[in-house]
Every structure is written in structure tokens, then in C-alpha cells.
């Protein structure tokens, strides 16, 4: 698909792609959760993410010329046209890796959406008002799990620390600036990502301390998602997500 969205659209797609790709990953837990309650919890979270993605794609697509619908944006773009954070496309790993990733991202996302409720873009503001309530609920859930695992058994502590160490390099992408986020900040449509960093670190530090987990000391961070450069895992998740509508483009439920 020919695709060269303007900066405003790129910003909305970045938000939508984060929600869709994480929702798609989390939905892989369906039927595989450690116990029934947690299976239900993580799938509810996936459902919220996919619902948010739909609203954001609808909003992004309406503003495009020619206008595109949510399905065209989700199912017919290629890998380098997706602008999500690379952390969100990583395989789920074990429960600790899934929940530590969720905690890092939920905390960022909550702070971001809190600011999006004051966006100069009225439709984005409305979506954010709705999504913030859900994200707040997710953020509390994932923080509780990080504390429970870090402060739990020797095994759960080890797995939680492994997850923190493994995922930490991917958190740098949250706070990077690029063309679309700078432009969104100038329009007062969204906060500058770097403005969120001190608040994110404050919350993350507090939870890691309570969980008895060590914060990695690191100089190098993963980058690329905001520019459409992804890990080797992205192609597989898109294949799973997109093959049916691509095989049967006119298929209806």
C-alpha cells in the first residue's frame, strides 16, 4: 500500500499501533494464563488495548486523504509503516516478562494519556478521557504483580529480576523525540515524551524498591520503533494478525 502519512497522522498511528500490537501480544495468553483469574485479567487488558486501537485508527483514518478505515490501517500496512515501541512486539516470555513489560508501559501510558486528556485535538482528548480510566486500572494491576513477584519466592524474584534486566533497554524508546512527537507537542496535542521521564522514573523506582528488585545501570538503549524499524519478532506478529484479511479482503463476520 502506498503510504506517506503526515506528522499529525503519524502521531495518531504511533498511539494506535502501540495499543494494537500490545493487545495482539497479550491475547496470545488466552487459555494459557497461570490460573483462570489471571488469564481473564490479561485478556481483559488485551480487549481494552484493542478497543483503544480501534478508536485511534478511526480518528487517524478520518483525517487522511483519501480517508482510510480502521481495518485498512490495522491489516494492510507493512512492518516499516508501524510506529509502535519495539518492547510491545517482543514475545510474551513467562508471566514475569509479560507483567514487567506491562508495568513499564502502563506507567508510561498512564502519564501520557493523563496529558492527552488536555490535548488541543478534541477527538484525541475524548478518546484519552475514555482510555485513561482503563489504563489506570491496568497500571495498578501490573504494579501489584511486579511487587508480588519481586517480593515473592526465590523463583518469582529471579524471574522478575531477569525480566527487568531484559526489558530495561527497551524503555529508552518511550522518551525519544522524533518528528511527529515534536510536532504534536508544538500543537499542544500531546506532551513531549521527555517531559514524562522524571515522573515515570519516580513511579518505577518506587515500585522496584518495594518489590526488592534492582534497577539496571545501563548506557545503551534500543531504538527504532518510532521510525518503523522493528525487531525480528514484528514480522511474525503481523503475519498472525494480518493473514486472514489479506487472504480474504472482503470477508465479513
Amino acid at each position: 500500500m502506498e503510504f506517506s502519512p503526515d506528522l499529525r497522522t503519524q502521531h495518531l498511528l504511533h498511539l494506535a499501533d502501540n495499543a494494537l500490537i500490545l493487545g495482539q501480544r497479550l491475547s496470545e495468553w488466552c487459555g494459557h494464563g497461570p490460573v483462570l483469574e489471571q488469564d481473564i485479567a490479561i485478556i481483559n487488558t488485551a480487549l481494552d488495548q484493542i478497543g483503544q486501537a480501534r478508536m485511534l485508527y478511526q480518528h487517524a483514518g478520518k483525517g487522511m486523504n483519501p480517508a482510510l478505515d480502521e481495518d485498512q490501517l490495522a491489516f494492510f500496512r507493512t512492518e516499516n509503516q508501524f510506529l509502535n515501541f519495539t518492547m510491545l512486539e517482543l514475545p510474551n516470555g513467562d508471566w514475569a516478562q509479560t507483567l514487567v513489560r506491562q508495568f513499564f508501559f502502563d506507567t508510561y501510558n498512564y502519564l501520557q494519556y493523563e496529558r492527552l486528556t488536555e490535548s488541543s485535538d478534541p477527538a484525541l482528548r475524548a478518546i484519552a478521557g475514555k482510555a485513561l480510566k482503563e489504563i489506570g486500572y491496568h497500571a495498578q494491576f501490573s504494579a501489584e504483580w511486579v511487587i508480588r513477584m519481586g517480593d515473592g519466592t526465590e523463583e518469582s524474584h529471579k524471574r522478575a529480576q531477569d525480566a527487568v534486566d531484559r526489558l530495561w533497554p527497551y524503555t529508552g524508546e518511550f522518551f525519544e523525540s522524533d518528528g511527529f512527537s515534536a510536532e504534536a507537542a508544538v500543537r499542544r496535542a500531546a506532551p513531549l515524551p521527555s517531559d514524562l521521564q522524571p515522573h515515570w522514573e519516580e513511579k518505577v523506582d518506587a515500585v522496584l524498591v518495594e518489590a526488592g528488585l534492582k534497577k539496571p545501570v545501563l548506557q545503551w538503549f534500543q531504538t527504532g520503533g518510532r521510525k518503523g524499524q522493528h525487531t525480528e519478532h514484528m514480522g511474525y506478529i503481523l503475519a498472525e494478525l494480518q493473514f486472514l484479511p489479506r487472504l480474504h479482503p472482503e470477508a465479513q463476520w
Binding site: R54, E114, L132, K133, A139, E144, K203
Partner: protein, 165 residues
């Protein structure tokens, strides 16, 4: 604005229930934000506020509203989804809350400042069976996006509670 017709539309909407919680009507849920009937052609305009972004019941609810109004003899029905202001459990009617408790689901309490969600504490939830407030949250999520799972420490029964948002 034809008030007699609006009353009739509202009466029909009282009969449309949430497919996942059949004791609640769409009016009880507080998702109907406005109803207007055009004087000129009797077309109906309804503003609907979704509960959760990804709630799969919303499409069914919209279809149920259309079919109930069509069966009642109304034509030209326009349903619009409005996101702002975001739906809150504070919009649930008092009679809806009573029906919910009688059905065995703890109704939502008044929302406590959701800005504190990141550091927040769970609200006090009353057992719908024995009315004890000695209850424990088993899971923050339940069988549908709008519910959480609790256990009563007095009568020991597990129950669903409506999440407060």
C-alpha cells in the same frame, strides 16, 4: 421537540437490556446520553456513550436498540457514539444499582478521584448476599470488562462486583 414521542422512545429503551447483565436496561446503565425526536419527520437521534473501549456488547446494544424501536413502530433511527465526557459508573441509576445488588452483583460505589489510580487503593465493597463489608478482592478483572471478582469473608461466597470507573 415532541415530548410525547420522546417519552415513548424512553419507554422502549427501558425494555432494552445489557446482554451481559440482563437485569439492567440501557437507561439504568446510564449509557443513553440524549434522545431527541424530530418534529418534522419523527426521526430519532440517540447519543450512546460506550462503557469500555473494547466492550464487545456495545455493537449488540446498538443493534438491540434499533430493533426494539423498529418493532415499536419507529422508523429512521440514528444512533451516535459519543466519547466525551467519558462514561462513568456514577451515571448508573439508583434503581439500576438496587437491581444489580438483588441480582448478586455488588453495585459500583461513588467514584473516588481516579487521578490517584497509579497509587490508588481498592474501594470498600459490600457482599450482595449477606451485606457484610468484610470482603476480599480475588481478581481485579472478571467475566466481562465491567466487573471484578470478590469473596465475602463473612458468608464465604464469591461474587462479582461492578468496577468503579
Amino acid at each position: 421537540m415532541n415530548s410525547g414521542l420522546t417519552e415513548r422512545v424512553l419507554a422502549v429503551l427501558e425494555t432494552v437490556s445489557d446482554p451481559e447483565i440482563p437485569v439492567l436496561s440501557v437507561i439504568d446503565l446510564g449509557i443513553i446520553r440524549s434522545v431527541s425526536v424530530s418534529e418534522a419527520d419523527h426521526s430519532i437521534h440517540i447519543d450512546l456513550s460506550p462503557t469500555y473501549s473494547g466492550c464487545p456488547a456495545m455493537d449488540t446494544i446498538e443493534a438491540d436498540i434499533r430493533s426494539a424501536l423498529t418493532s415499536a413502530g419507529f422508523g429512521s433511527i440514528h444512533v451516535r457514539t459519543v466519547l466525551e465526557p467519558a462514561w462513568t459508573t456514577d451515571w448508573m441509576s439508583e434503581s439500576g444499582k438496587r437491581k444489580l445488588e438483588a441480582y448478586g452483583i455488588a453495585p459500583p460505589e461513588k467514584r473516588s478521584g481516579d487521578k490517584r489510580a497509579l497509587f490508588g487503593k481498592a474501594p470498600e465493597v459490600r457482599c450482595p448476599l449477606c451485606k457484610s463489608t468484610r470482603t476480599t478482592r480475588l481478581s481485579a478483572f472478571g467475566s466481562t470488562p465491567c466487573k471484578a471478582l470478590y469473596r465475602c469473608d463473612e458468608c464465604l461466597e464469591p461474587f462479582d462486583a461492578f468496577k468503579c470507573i
